[in-house]
């Protein structure tokens, strides 16, 4: 299953850091941050609970880029 979230991030480099961090979260099969459209598309593992996974994604993203915003 795949979902797309609106994000707010200011620099392209931070966006790719967020992407890397989000990919490592358990339950995330793949994550792509599109800096230009300010969107984060997350592909979840089968059986993963998106809301719980996304809470973790937000946490790790805040760690690499404190200024980022992810609108769940």
């Amino acid at each position: 299953m795949s979902k797309s979230y609106k994000i707010e991030v200011d620099c392209a480099n931070c966006a790719s850091l967020m992407e890397g961090a989000a990919r490592k979260v358990p339950g995330v099969k793949n994550a792509v941050v599109n800096f230009m459209t300010q969107k984060l598309s997350v592909d979840f593992d089968d059986g993963a609970e998106p809301n719980a996974v996304m809470r973790e994604v937000v946490k790790v993203c805040k760690r690499v880029e404190p200024d980022c915003e992810i609108y769940l």
């Binding site: 707010e8 620099c11 480099n13 404190p66």
Partner: protein, 672 residues
């Protein structure tokens, strides 16, 4: 002199940020974060100006005591913290998360170092604050400019309809396009966008399709014509019965495609992220070397080590090294390039394909539907013993009951309607033709096999296409040439392809060799494979792929019908005139909205321009950076210049990237 310049500069920053602050009060023009940083810039600049004013006004004797010096230092520290506290926090967090070498760290080290130097030696706190201030101004501008251009690119591509009109209780009601069910009749007034794909049930109008196809000529529609969403209704009121939901409509599919396009990263983008990963640590080590090596060498030579000079240079070196311009401008260039292409009717599914397209050296065409119309037409009548029109008319009557495409084209070729009462005793021989009696004449209409079987001597034809022989009362009466008509722009498209660096053009076709080679000669195609079955095309494309050099790419152009495997196998699969064909949009990497072959050289040119801009930005940004770093290392540039160079390069690179949006020959780009 320098004092005045610095004061002026600070004043300019203060005024500019005040102006931006007022501009930013308009909703939607700035994010919350941008507003916050802006107010900090304004605040810190004003305080800095006040401190400096106080310094010059307070008499010398009062600033001498230690207490006064401490107060002065504290004021500067406070100002420094106002402008730079977030950078310091981020740098600390970076260290905590074992991600040491980022730009926050560089700035923190550089400015704290400058501060320390000021405390112990010069007392010139200004530099540390000013560098932090300029860095923040630069970062702020970058975020503002990128956000702004991102929005304006998205707006230019915005073909998303906001509403659909539905007739309800005698009046028009505006509803969200998502809510409209398939089969509903919607009303589109002149000047509105068609929100959903459908069929016209009432009204005539001309449509502006330029947002979708880049084609500026309006399209006329009348009842029972299919229309696609995203077109603008120009003249008359239309009632449209929707055939698709909003999500499956052309406009939604295109938006989805373009928005997801920049997620597929190109090699240049990969290069940049790999470069940044090596670059930042390398710069840090170079800075360390700059601190240690020259003083040690000087000591060894028995001279003064001048530690503070080299520490200052190393710090400046760190400031100058920030790779923002590079990191920001490359994805922005691709985004603008894809945006520009989509406005010209060329949908590119990812930056990687845009990049591959610029290396296209071989272009393979599937003949039918790309170079030719894919519609059979009577081209000529040869060796006719009677009036050519009469011969055609007779043949059309004989063939009128057959459903074969060739028969249909014969029927379409005669102006007068078919009079079925004239036709008697029709017998169709599959694979050969038809025998019938028309107007009392015994006709045999068919290919050479039919003529041979009937024992009628026939004249074979040298022109390409399908030959239909006609015999009247057992006598040969001439033949009709039916062929798939070549598109009017095919020849020009092939020559433009050669002109823009394509080495080989290849044509694949199921036609007989003679037909194929005459088409190829007419168009100037280099290589032709004829008499192919659909499954042969994949293996031919594979063998052509092997012949390509390392940086050469192969593009396959198909009409999107039955060629999904080949589209997938080629480096770049281009589907033509694919509006509405879901399978083609799915399989292709590049989708041409129009079926004009001239779109192919255009797409290649767009990709070349975009890649050109990407390379310019890479070379420009890295080049200026290196020059700055060298100037700093030899002591010819100070921290001010370093920050200015950084911000300046970034602005120029962003402006250059925006250039990729503008494509020659599209109507709107000239006014945009």
């Amino acid at each position: 002199m320098q004092e005045i310049i610095i004061n002026l500069l600070l004043l300019v920053i203060a005024i500019a940020s005040l102006v931006m602050f007022i501009v930013g009060r308009r909703p939607g023009s700035m994010t919350k974060k941008q507003k916050k940083v802006l107010s900090r810039i304004l605040f810190a600049t004003v305080i800095l100006l006040l401190i400096r004013a106080a310094e010059s006004l307070v008499p010398q004797e009062l600033t001498e005591p230690a207490a006064a010096r401490i107060i002065r230092a504290l004021l500067y520290v406070a100002d420094y913290l106002i402008i730079g506290y977030d950078i310091l926090i981020k740098a600390a967090k970076g260290i905590q998360n074992r991600r040491v070498f980022d730009e926050n760290f560089l700035m923190a080290v550089a400015t704290l170092g400058a501060f320390a130097l000021a405390l112990y030696e010069s007392g010139d706190y200004l530099e540390a604050i000013a560098v932090m201030l300029f860095y923040q101004v630069g970062e702020w501008f970058q975020s503002y400019a990128v956000g702004k251009s991102r929005r304006s690119i998205s707006e230019l591509m915005d073909i998303r309809p906001d509403y659909a009109n539905i007739e309800r209780d005698g009046g028009l009601v505006r509803v969200s396009p998502e809510e409209v069910e398939v089969g509903t009749v919607i009303v589109v007034c002149p000047g509105e966008k068609i929100p959903i794909d459908g069929v016209v049930t009432e009204g005539c109008s001309s449509l502006n399709t330029s947002a979708l196809t880049g084609e500026s000529l309006p399209r006329e529609v009348s009842p029972s014509d299919e229309v696609i969403s995203g077109c603008i209704n120009m003249t008359g009121l239309l009632k449209i019965r929707t055939t698709k939901g909003f999500g499956e409509s052309t406009v939604s599919r295109i938006l989805e495609l373009v928005e997801n396009a920049s997620s597929r990263k190109s090699r240049s983008e990969d290069f940049i992220s790999r470069f940044a990963r090596i670059y930042t640590p390398a710069v840090c080590y170079a800075a360390v070397a700059l601190v240690l090596l020259p003083p040690v060498a000087l000591l060894a030579l028995g001279e003064d080590a001048a530690w503070s000079v080299w520490i200052y240079r190393a710090l400046t070196f760190l400031v100058a090294s920030c790779p923002c311009a590079l990191v920001i401008s490359i994805p922005l260039s691709f985004f603008a390039g894809i945006g520009g292409a989509s406005r010209a009717g060329v949908l590119v599914k990812g930056s990687n394909y845009l990049e591959a397209l610029s290396f296209a050296k071989t272009v393979v065409f599937d003949k039918t539907g790309t170079l030719t119309q894919g519609v059979f037409e009577v081209n000529a009548v040869h060796h006719s013993k009677i009036d050519e029109k009469r011969l055609l008319e007779l043949a059309a009557h004989a063939e009128s009951s057959s459903s074969h495409p060739i028969s249909k084209s014969l029927v379409n070729a005669v102006e007068t309607p078919i009079d079925r009462s004239k036709i008697t005793c029709v017998s169709e021989v599959s694979g050969e033709g038809v025998a019938a009696t028309v107007d009392g004449l015994r006709l045999a209409v068919g290919n050479h096999k039919l003529m041979e079987r009937l024992g009628i001597p026939y004249i074979s034809c040298h022109s390409h296409g399908t030959i239909v022989h006609v015999a009247i009362d057992g006598e040969y009466a001439g033949h009709i040439v039916i062929s798939d008509r070549i598109k009017p722009t095919s020849k020009q498209a092939i020559s433009e392809l050669h002109g823009c660096g394509v080495r080989r053009t290849v044509m694949l076709t199921g036609d007989l060799e003679g037909t194929a080679s005459s088409v190829a000669n007419e168009l100037g195609i280099d290589l032709t494979y004829s008499q192919l079955l659909p499954q042969d095309k994949v293996s031919i494309v594979e063998s052509l792929l092997k012949e390509n050099g390392k940086r050469e790419r192969l593009a396959f152009v198909g009409d999107g019908i039955n060629d999904a495997p080949v589209l997938g196998r080629a480096d770049i699969g281009i589907a033509m005139g694919a509006m509405g064909s879901d399978a083609a949009i799915e399989a292709a990497d590049v989708v041409l909205m129009d079926d004009d072959p001239m779109q192919i050289p255009k797409a290649i040119k767009i990709s070349r321009k975009c890649i050109g801009i990407v390379y310019q930005n890479i070379v420009f940004a890295i080049g200026i950076k290196l020059v700055c770093l060298i100037l700093v290392a030899v002591g010819m540039a100070n921290m001010w210049l370093a920050v200015f160079a950084d911000v300046g390069v970034m602005i120029l690179a962003v402006l250059n990237a925006i250039r990729a949006l503008f494509v020659k020959g599209t109507k709107r780009s000239r006014t945009a």
